[in-house]
């Protein structure tokens, strides 16, 4: 099952992947995303860019959290809340698809 996820609750077991109708580019460590559907563009800072890079392939929220905790000095709980909040913002803008599990 797959959804753009606008109204879906994202949990640590959710699997998230960058949506198809967007393009993105590195901008000196940051990331710019352009929605080809709406023409709107968005800027991500370095941490957001790191998460975005992980979303090139379907990735569990848990794995994103682990990658960030390994890389930055941050409490796992705080990291999880921030990641879920960030992903929810991406989902509202239909920049990511949310799945229940990685398709075999």
């Amino acid at each position: 099952m797959q959804s753009t996820g606008v109204n879906r609750v994202i949990t640590t077991t959710s699997v998230v992947v960058a949506a198809k109708d967007q393009v993105s580019s590195d901008l000196a460590g940051e990331t710019v995303i352009l929605s080809l559907r709406t023409g709107m563009y968005y800027g991500l800072d370095r941490v957001g860019a790191r998460i975005w890079a992980l979303l090139g392939a379907p990735t569990r929220v848990l794995d994103i959290r682990k990658a960030l905790v390994d890389r930055y000095e941050v409490e796992p709980d705080r990291c999880e809340r921030d990641v879920v909040s960030f992903l929810q913002q991406l989902a509202v803008r239909e920049l990511v698809d949310i799945r229940d599990e990685i398709a075999p």
Partner: protein, 391 residues
Amino acid sequence: MRRRRSTASETADLLLTTLRLHADVDVAALRKRWAASSPAGLATLTEYEGCVLWLHQRLRELCIFDAVPAAFAEWLSQRAHFLVARNLLVDAQRDDLVQILNELRVPHVLLKGSARRLIADRYPYADARSTSDVDVLLPGNTALPTWQCLRAAGFEPASASPTTYDGHFHLPPLRNGRAVAVELHTSTSTFVPAPVAWTRFAGTAQAATCAGGPTRIPGATELLWHAITHAPLPHPFAFRMRLFQDAAVVCAAGAEVDWGEIAMRLTTDELPHRALARRWLGTAAQLGALPDAASPLRPLPTPDLSKILSWRLGVCRLLDTRGLRPPRPVWGRHPVSRVRRLLLDQAAQVELKLPSTLSPPGTPSARHIGRGVAAGAARVCYQAWRLFSHP
């Protein structure tokens, strides 16, 4: 006690030093200079010069972005995000076009921004410039059938009068639902026959890959040569950073350019303004450093780019009452925009000894005289400034 802020001359030199693609950069000194710089007029200047992405990337890569005065840094960052988003749209159009050309089995070589966006790994900073459309070179005999295939696929002529392109070196631009024009070229210049252009570009093209599939980009010699021929000489705005960048990145990369071929072409009728083209290349080379192998070109004239930028920044400051953001668009028709461009253009004409820009045919005589008087006044302003600041 307040610290002295930098003058227009110092800030212009700082901009130039930062943009130069030389390896021997004193990063610590640059950091100090940016921290003490006055950004007044700099937003307008970088917009005019078309070097927003270049400056943004340079400051980031030298790790001195945090030393830039906050308001200018914020403007630069926002503007860079916008331009990158715009480039992404152009890239998406390029990818779609490459996919179609591959499906049609039409050989092609990407040109200009579309190509340069794919080669930053070989030519650092080649992609750090804005791109507005997709240009692609095709063999002369395939251009029209391909244009018609694109029409059948939903592309429409972007111009209301496609017949004005009869005999031109590219077919009428096409657009689909995306606001990015596609231009199918048969040559890169009015002065180069289509078969010659195709032989040159296809024979030396480099392989590249985009989301649309495999494609080709020009080799180093043609990249540099196209940068020279694409500069709109003898117009003063040919002497802007955005246009120099296309040549500077090739020089700076130490790419395998056939310098003898470039030197030979600089003596042919392919360039209607040969002496000016040498001056243009000499200016661009200051930003990228010519390698030793470029000896067939030497000596190249090297105009004082710092002085030109210094005047331009002074004008931008003078007409930029808020001190940071452009009060009027650089390229707009507002009187302030036009006065600014007049002052910038006429100074370049004096400094670079460019021929006068004539009024278009059919201009009423009163307007022609008015333009002449305004241009003369702008030149007097520049001469007076030069006498005062660079005696």
